[in-house]
């Protein structure tokens, strides 16, 4: 082989080595799928609220279909949210007892589709403001929400609504805190994983407490 050819081969070899990138293994990717994102309204005074109500089932939105679900797993999710709220000094009441806060819980099961925050509000399975005693009102983000480009299978969304100040917010139910727990519903993650991630969403929002 001519030396010039060998030099060219080595040149290509160096280029190949230099361009090597390191991609994570499938095991690492599985672990990476546990992402907890929370955002809250920095102008909200969370200590001014005392009571909360929570939906009695979870809205499951799957591609173009939706439903309300109250399986044992769904009840575990709701119970864990209730436990976290009560730990932080809030008192649970029914939705007819004029709660300060309301909690919607949804599970999104779509894959590889671009969605912007709040798109799921229009699905019939999602509890609209009428459910919370505010017919004609609509949901509103008082802050710029994190943009979720893809909803992978099994994203859990927890919305915390300000009902106490709805009348002064011009017919808007402010979402003062939102939690996204992403990609937990595939076969590689357990219910315990999900519940721990619900806890984490509360842990990373230290302002969310009544006292």
């Amino acid at each position: 082989m001519k030396r010039q050819h060998l030099f060219i081969i080595l040149l290509l070899g160096m280029l190949f080595i230099g361009s090597c990138t390191f991609y994570p293994s499938n095991t690492e990717l599985n672990e990476e799928q546990l992402v907890d994102i929370t955002k809250y309204d920095v102008t909200a005074d969370f200590k001014s609220f005392n009571t909360f109500a929570i939906v009695d089932s979870i809205s499951v939105i799957k591609n173009n279909d939706s439903s309300h679900v109250l399986t044992p797993e769904a009840q575990q999710i709701l119970n864990r949210i209730i436990q976290n709220m009560e730990t932080r000094g809030y008192t649970r009441v029914t939705k007819d007892e004029n709660p300060d806060l309301a909690i919607n819980v949804s599970v999104i099961e779509v894959t590889n589709v671009y969605y912007y925050p709040g798109w799921y509000w229009t699905y019939w399975g999602y509890y609209d403001p009428y459910y919370w005693g505010y017919p004609g009102y609509y949901y509103w983000y008082p802050y710029y929400p994190p943009v979720i480009a893809y909803y992978s299978t099994g994203t859990v969304i927890i919305d915390l609504l300000d009902l106490k100040n709805a009348p002064i917010h011009d017919n808007k139910l402010y979402l003062i805190w939102t939690a996204y727990i992403r990609a937990l519903m595939n076969y590689n993650h357990s219910m315990e994983d999900l519940l721990e991630n619900i806890d984490q969403c509360f842990i990373q929002t230290p302002v969310l407490r009544a006292n």
């Binding site: 230099g18 090597c20 994570p24 990476e32 992402v35 994102i37 955002k39 802050y143 480009a149 990373q204």
Partner: protein, 214 residues
């Protein structure tokens, strides 16, 4: 690593089996030589705070022209890939946003330099050199969380002092090996998670193959 090992073996196999009849260490003085090097890079300073792991994935292609008085003028184009995985942790951003996840950090650099320096006794089998490289670079940083890729890129100014040696495979061989070390810093800067990273720095160690021109 396997590919790196094979490349090093190939470099070793290029050692010449025919030598000049001259028994001294002197041979021809090359007019110029071109080198293809494999580099490992150790990030320093702010860059080390962004990615602390030494990068084995890099290289450079350079040319050195030896003009009268053994002054060297040349060029260098390089590249390096850096990578580090960060364990699951919580990151707080402005406006009430918090994210808990593991993530990957990548960085790519492509410096392109004008080199000037001195070559000691270029006619010898072993000829040390030192150079100063001045030029620019292109740099990218990527932070990957699931399928989100937060990235930034910049162009900057680069300064690179370098020392090394050209080792001929024979007094009159057109081939040789180059070993060198350099320190580099650039003026690139970026921000992530409320932290600013300025003045990237690093140390590179390189070994490679050189082709000498009479």
């Amino acid at each position: 690593m396997k590919k790196i090992f094979i490349t090093i073996v190939l470099l070793g196999l290029l050692m010449p089996t025919v030598y000049s009849q001259e028994s001294s260490g002197q041979g021809f003085k090359p007019h110029s030589y071109y080198s293809l090097d494999w580099s490992i890079s150790i990030p320093l300073g702010d860059f080390n705070e962004f990615i602390s792991i030494t990068s084995p994935a890099g290289g450079s292609f350079s040319g050195k022209y030896i003009i009268p008085q053994d002054i060297v003028l040349g060029f260098l184009i390089g590249w390096n890939n850096y990578y580090e995985k960060f364990a699951r942790a919580t990151y707080y951003f402005e406006d009430g946003l918090a994210v808990t996840a593991s993530h990957y950090r990548y960085s790519y650099t492509i410096p392109f330099l004008f080199m000037m320096g001195y070559q000691f006794k270029p006619q010898n089998i072993i000829s040390p050199f030192f150079t100063l490289g001045i030029g620019g670079d292109y740099m990218e940083q990527h932070i990957i969380i699931q399928n989100w890729d937060f990235y930034d890129d910049q162009w900057g100014f680069v300064l690179t002092p370098e020392i090394g040696a050209l080792i001929k495979f024979g007094p009159f061989s057109h081939w040789g090996a180059e070993i060198k070390a350099n320190y580099w810093f650039n003026t690139n800067s970026f921000s992530f998670v409320n932290k600013d990273y300025n003045l990237m720095q690093g140390i590179n160690f390189s070994v490679g193959l050189s082709y000498l021109v009479r």
